[in-house]
Symmetry: C2
């Protein structure tokens, strides 16, 4: 067997030319979107006023296995891809485990995460469709930064509604987006009807993702040349993120490695879905017996404690209804929670696969996540995003089990991004100011009460 | 000719096994250190109480061309090296220039800069020499972060004296260092004699690099198991940074490219010296006619307006005297200056090469530097450190000249790091709050007055 280098970079010629559409290989497809008012199945025309045409087409395509990556998107990908697949030799030594640990590192770009993979495609489609501007929302700011970079490249105006409290806490995230030419509006704002309404009711609110989505959608609806885009949950985002898994598979195949376990952090599910896509196809088709593990925060446990039901993607209850694992759009994770992955729902693809038994899920507490993050940083030299550190925690736990059993399993996990803009959370951990938070059953019941009844 | 990919990564087998010691090829060596009190030439024994033995040996070695990189250091290098050599196709298109532009990107690691190349070596030597702790100073925090990472890996305690005003302005830099286990002490502090003395005289001072160096040295002198290390200026640091130029040369040779122009930003000179090292050897030996350009800030213009003289490296006047281009250790760049590269002196190697006509130098103003930085960020997708952006500015200027003359020159520049911790400066630029500052002749005279008289 060939010696495995610390980092495997594909050459440009080895890079994938197509995204892989996992839905084409799923034995059972996930349930379709349902219209929030009529409760009928959504068709493309229902989605066009808000979303880009090409994205709607990708969203509804459950049959084509491979979808060509446009040439212009592949050109942009070359600036920050291939991302390295890393053999974590130092972490293996530190854990004294017989396991082989690999991670796919998506943080080597200025957005600091995998979000850029989809942002580029979306901005390119906007250009192709003759649009002049896009709107979106951002919480922690990774998606907003990625989209700012993509829009700067394709010369598209971008308005980002950033949750007000995040904009205050993370002024530097705002500054990055502005440096890339985006307009950043702390939300709720007085620039939209919905924003003014919210401000009239709660002048001092720090805002929420749900509110920011509503403002972004309102702006998109006011112009023929503008659309709303988003960076997770939906199938077209998972499709674009399949570049992650495709690159991993090509790299591992070169060295004859088939992962025994693949681990990803689970927020909206786009990274996780993209990472596992080609490997899951092998499992579905009986070619492998890989275990898949989603790691989610115990404070926002949609897969481990949520319901599999139709629900809204936003707290404003304006989106189509999506069949997914959900805590209810009214569920709010504790403000003590620093580790990202705060979404109440989950990608419908991931949800369906979990429901059908292809996927395990574990929930972990944030102090344990930061402990794992720091162990990783000190041995592998990369300060991870708190979100990514959930996957690190999962991988370390599995590697320790291998030590106990003596098994030489190969573990692959997704390192979605860097923690350079999350240092207030690290400071809180370093000074013992971080607490864990697990919602009670009563907390969950409150969230569940917000899930609509769909016949 | 082979098609040149956007990014060239060396394989592990192609990576350099030796640092290249440029001094061995210099026709004339630079003048030796002089003892600050006796004014006699420094010998190794003068340096041992403060510096690591192995570093002193490297510092005084003017004859061995190649110095083997220890196996353990090469192992660490694999975690973040090879760094990519990037063909800036997008920037070339945006500038509509016939020039080929390449840059070596050293920012793909958590320290965010090239500083890690030397930090690893220094921490490793400390371990080898049986030391248990190191001290250093840091201003903006890149060096302190890099050394924290290296010390975490080799299990060495580290105390970083961070200029107090920087520690306040950049709490997140402090948090990164602490996450890697370093103790960060805002300087001046009450933990050292020199710190207490300074505080007694100026209780409200924001500190300075000179003061932080003095505190770090005082601590190193108190223990047999502790030494002081630093991250620029000295020859052993330039030696370690030669990994940058070595990797560039191997990559470019594969594609038959000899740079017509090599451009680097000039602060203390370690990145610049490392980048140019193997290419300069070819020039000295008559094998190439490459032009070398150092780009420095107009607000701290040591090469373009300084004197070539013996001077102290610190404002506290405790270091050996170094023959270099200097503005005088008493020179203070304007506090309006946001773009880094604030050192009053310059690497003795770079200084000597400039003095002997091998090197050009240009000074640029910070608003022009940030303009270039943003053009680069929006086309090449990387938000550069303000320091690195000086080299970008130099490269863009040369590429525009090529457009005017129609010459298809190949330009290589060093992109030393990322600007993720410099966003307050970007914000200032974005909101038109940034001003330029050029010292008057009178300002310079004041600095020159602090240069000691050495017979």
């Amino acid at each position: 067997m060939k010696e495995i280098p610390t980092k495997i970079y594909l050459s440009e010629k080895e890079m994938p030319t197509h995204w892989y559409n996992l839905r084409a290989d799923m034995k059972e497809k996930h349930a379709p979107f349902i219209h929030p008012v009529t409760h009928k199945v959504c068709i493309a025309e229902d989605l066009y006023p808000v979303f880009l045409k090409k994205l709607v087409e990708e969203e509804l395509d459950h049959t084509n296995r491979l979808i060509e990556i446009p040439c212009e998107v592949r050109e942009f990908y070359k600036m920050f891809r291939p991302s390295p697949l890393v053999r974590a030799y130092c972490l293996e030594r530190a854990l004294d485990t017989p396991a082989e640990i690999y991670y796919k590192f998506e943080g080597n770009n200025t957005s600091g995460s995998h979000k850029l993979n989809s942002a580029v495609a979306q901005a390119y489609y906007a250009k192709q469709e003759g649009l002049t501007s896009l709107t979106t929302e951002t919480g922690a700011g990774q998606w907003g930064t990625a989209l700012s970079m993509a829009c700067a490249y394709f010369d598209i105006d971008l308005k980002v509604f950033m949750v007000k409290v995040s904009a205050k806490q993370k002024p530097y995230r705002k500054a990055v987006m502005e440096t890339y030419g985006a307009t950043v509006v702390p939300s709720p704002s007085d620039t939209t009807k919905v924003g003014r309404k919210i401000l009239a009711n709660s002048p001092k609110t720090g805002g929420s993702l749900g509110c920011a989505i509503s403002e972004a959608i309102e702006v998109a609806l006011t112009s023929d040349k503008c659309r709303y885009v988003l960076g997770s949950v939906l199938d077209h985002v998972v499709l674009h993120q399949s570049i992650i898994g495709q690159e991993c598979k090509i790299a591992l195949d070169k060295y004859g490695v088939t992962p025994d376990i693949i681990i990803g952090c689970a927020g909206g599910g786009s990274n996780l879905g993209g990472l596992i896509a080609p490997f899951m196809a092998d499992k579905i088709n009986g070619k492998s017996n890989t275990r898949f593990i989603a790691v989610e925060p115990a404070s926002c446990p949609s897969l481990t404690r949520g319901k599999y039901a139709y629900d809204f993607a936003d707290t404003g209850k304006t989106t189509p209804l999506i069949k997914m694992y959900t805590l209810g759009s009214g569920f709010m994770p504790s403000s003590d929670h620093a580790g990202g992955l705060r979404f109440h729902g989950m990608s419908p693809i991931i949800s369906k696969l979990h429901h059908d038994g292809y996927f395990e899920a574990v929930a972990v507490e944030q102090t344990a996540v930061f402990e794992a993050a720091i162990k990783f940083a000190r041995t592998e030299g990369i300060l991870p995003a708190p979100e990514s550190a959930h996957a690190i925690k999962g991988a370390i736990d599995e590697a320790i089990k291998c030590k106990q059993t003596g098994e030489k399993k190969s573990i692959l996990f997704g390192l979605t991004g860097t923690g350079y803009f999350d240092l207030s959370a690290y400071s809180a951990y370093n000074s013992n100011m971080m607490k864990d938070y697990i919602p009670t059953d009563k907390d969950l019941e409150k969230g569940f009460a917000s899930i609509p009844v769909v016949e």
